[in-house]
Amino acid sequence: MTLTRRGLLGTAAATSLLPLARARAADAPIKIGVLGDMSGMYRDLSGPVSVACAKQAVADFGAAGKGIPVEILVGDHQNKPDIGAGVAGQWFDRDGVDLVVDVPNSSVALAVSNVGHLKNKVVIACGPGTADLTGPQCTPNTIHWSFDTWMLAHSTGGAMVKAGGDTWFFITADYAFGHAMQRDTANFVKEAGGKVLGNVDTPFPGTTDFSSFLLQAQSTGAKVIGLANAGSDTVNCIKQAAEFGVNKSARLAGLLVFISDVHALGLQNAQGLVLTETFYWDLNERTRAFTQRVLPNTGGARPGMGQAGVYGGVLQYLKAVEKIGVAAAKASGAATVAQMKAMPTDDDAFGPGSIRADGRALHPAYLFEVKSPAESKAPWDYYKLLATTPADEAFRPLKDGHCPLIPA
C-alpha cells in the first residue's frame, strides 16, 4: 500500500506543477545554454571566455531593447559524452533551453547534437573538430561554426605548400584522429604539388618524450614537420622541438593548435609555428573592436576561433529569432535553423559569411605563422598572416560530406 500511495503522491505533485509551467511558457525568455569544458583540458579554448562571448553577442544584438528576453545558462560537460547529453537533455526538457552552444570535444558534440535533434532544439557547435557533424551525422538542428578537421588539414596542408613548404614529414598520434588528420593533410599536400617524405606513429595516449621522433623527422630534411596530434601531445612536440633546435631547420605545422596553446607555450617556444584559424583578434578593425568589447569579461584572454564562434553563432541565432518571433523559435529548433541558413551571416568576429544546407558555417581560413618574441609588440600579438583561403574553398565541398540532408 505504501508503495502506490507514494507513487500517486509523486505523480500528483508533478502534475499539479504542470499547468503552472505552461502558463509561464507564454512569455518565456529565449534560453541559451553554454555547454563547455570549464574544468578540463579544453577549458582555455572554451570555458569562461565562451560564456563571455555569448553574453557579448546578446548585448551587441541589443536583445533587451528589442523586447526579446534572453537568459544564459552555463554547464560543464567534463568531457564526458553522457554528462553532456544528460545536461543538454535536462536543459531542453526541464529548463526550457532553446539553444546549446560551444560543446568542445567531438564525442560530446555528436551526442549533444543528437539530443538536440530528438527534442527539436538548436545546437551550435563551435569547439569540436569532427567534420562528421556536417557529414554522415548531420541534422537539421545542428550548425557547426568556426572550424573542422577537413578545413584545418586543407588550409594548413594546401596553403602551406603554396607558401613554399613543399616537403612534409608527419608526427602522428597513433589513433583514429591522428591517422585521419595525417591522411587528409597528406592528400592536400600532394594535390598542391608537395611531397610527403614519411611519417612516424607515436603511441597514444601517454607519450611525453617526442625528441627521437623529432630528430627522425629532422634527419629526413623535410621543410615542414606536420603535427597530426592534439592537446598536450602538440604542446610537448613544440616545446621539445624548440629545445632541440628542430624548429630552426624545419617549420612546424600544427594541425590542431589554438591561440590559447600559443599563449601557454610562449613565443620563445612557439615561434615559427604555422597553424590555421578562422578568427584572430588582431586581424582587422572589426575583430579588434569585438575583442575590445569582450575583453573586460575574459580576464585578459583573447578569444580563439572556438570562442569567437560562440559569439557569431549566438548573434546569428538571435537574428533568426527576431525574424520568426520568439514563440515560433521556441516551438521549433529546425525552423530556427532553417531561418539561420536562409540569412547571410555578418558579425564582427568573422565578417560576412553564410551557413550551408548541411549546417556548415562558411568563413575564410587564415594560415598564420607565430611571431618571434622580437616581432611581438603587444600582449597577445602572436600571429602574422601567411595566406588566406576564401570561404567558398575553405571547407569540404557539400557533395563530399554525405550528409543525409543533401540529396545525392
Partner: protein, 310 residues
C-alpha cells in the same frame, strides 16, 4: 534475526517506492543514469565488499558491455533486451578471461593486474574500428522492447531500466545471502581457513568475478541505450576509479551502500555542472571527508548507528 529480516524488507520496499516515485520528481534520464551506475557499483561491491577483491579495472566490463549493446543495437538492429543481454554476456566473457588470470594474486597485485588488463581494453577500444575511436558509437537507437513497445519516450525506457536495476539488485542480494555468499565472506575473512574447510576458493572467487562482470556489462549496455552513445569514457580508468569512489562513499560491503554512493556521485556530476572546476574539487573533498570521518560510508554509518545490516 526475524527483526533483522523485517527491517531489510522495509528497506527494500522503500527502495522500490523511491524507484517508482523518482521520475515524477526528478529528470527521468538523470534517474536512469543513477540506476545504471547504482547497478554497476553494486556489481563492483560484490567483489570488494563480499570477497575482498579490489578490482581496479571494472570499467573494462562496463565499457565493453556498452560497446557490445550499442554496436549490436545499431548495426544488427537487435531488440533492446537482447542487445543488453549481449552486453552482459560480453562483459562476462571478458570477465572469465581476466578473472582466471587475476584471482591468482591478492590485494594490491590483484588490483594492479585488473588495472593493467583494463588499460589493454582501453587501448584496444581507442584503436579498434568498430568503436569509432574518439567519437564513439553515436545515435544508437533505443529500439522496441520485444519488438513491440517503443522505448523512444523517456518514461517507457525508464520502466525497463527500473526493472533491470531491481532485478540485478535483488540477484546480487540473493547471492550475498545464499550459502554461496557465506563462503565468499569466509574467503574474505580468512582464505586459508576456507581452503582448510575444503572449499575450492579459486572457483568461488572466479564465479563471483564472472557474476560481477556480467552485471557490470548489463549496466553498461543499459546506459548506452539510455543515452544512445557508447564512448571511451565508459572504458577509461577514471570510470574504474569512480565506481570505487561510489562504493566507498556509500558503504563497502553493504547492500544499499553502492546505490547511495552512485546517487551522491552522479548528483554531484550533474548538478554541480554549472560550477565548472568545482565538480572535481568537491568530489575530492567529499572523498577525503569520507575516508577521515566516516569510514564505513554513508549507509555503513547509518547501519552502525541503527545496529542494522543494510
Amino acid at each position: 534475526m526475524r527483526g533483522q529480516r523485517n527491517t531489510q524488507i522495509i528497506a527494500f520496499l522503500i527502495l522500490i517506492a523511491l524507484v517508482i516515485a523518482a521520475p515524477g520528481m526528478l529528470y527521468p534520464v538523470f534517474v536512469m543514469k543513477v540506476l545504471c551506475f547504482a547497478l554497476f557499483a553494486s556489481a563492483f561491491n560484490l567483489l570488494i565488499g563480499y570477497v575482498g577483491l579490489l578490482s581496479f579495472g571494472h570499467a573494462a566490463f562496463f565499457g565493453l558491455g556498452a560497446y557490445a549493446t550499442a554496436w549490436t543495437a545499431k548495426n544488427w538492429g537487435l531488440t533492446p533486451e537482447i542487445a543488453i543481454l549481449l552486453g552482459g554476456v560480453s562483459g562476462a566473457a571478458l570477465g572469465t578471461v581476466f578473472g582466471w588470470l587475476a584471482i591468482r594474486r591478492q590485494g594490491l597485485y590483484f588490483a594492479m593486474i585488473t588495472l593493467a588488463l583494463a588499460q589493454m581494453v582501453y587501448f584496444f577500444c581507442v584503436e579498434a574500428p568498430f568503436t569509432g575511436g574518439e567519437d564513439g558509437i553515436q545515435q544508437v537507437p533505443r529500439g522496441k522492447l520485444f519488438g513491440v513497445f517503443s522505448l523512444a519516450n523517456d518514461m517507457s525506457i525508464y520502466w525497463l531500466v527500473a526493472v533491470i536495476f531491481l532485478a540485478g539488485f535483488f540477484l546480487l542480494n540473493r547471492v550475498v545471502h545464499s550459502p554461496f555468499g557465506q563462503v565468499l565472506k569466509a574467503i574474505r575473512e580468512n582464505e586459508p581457513r576456507a581452503t582448510s574447510l575444503g572449499y575450492r576458493t579459486d572457483s568461488y572467487k572466479l564465479i563471483a568475478f564472472i557474476l560481477s562482470t556480467f552485471i557490470a556489462g548489463i549496466a553498461g549496455g543499459t546506459k548506452s541505450l539510455v543515452f544512445g552513445i557508447a564512448t571511451l569514457t565508459d572504458v577509461h580508468w577514471s570510470m574504474s576509479g569512480e565506481v570505487v569512489l561510489m562504493t566507498l562513499l556509500g558503504g563497502l560491503g553493504t547492500i544499499f551502500g553502492p546505490v547511495m554512493g552512485a546517487l551522491v556521485v552522479t548528483t554531484m556530476e550533474n548538478y554541480l555542472a554549472p560550477f565548472g572546476a568545482w565538480v572535481t574539487v568537491t568530489q575530492g573533498l567529499i572523498f577525503i571527508a569520507c575516508v577521515l570521518a566516516f569510514r564505513r560510508g554513508i549507509i555503513g554509518e547509518i547501519g552502525a548507528k541503527l545496529k542494522l545490516a543494510l
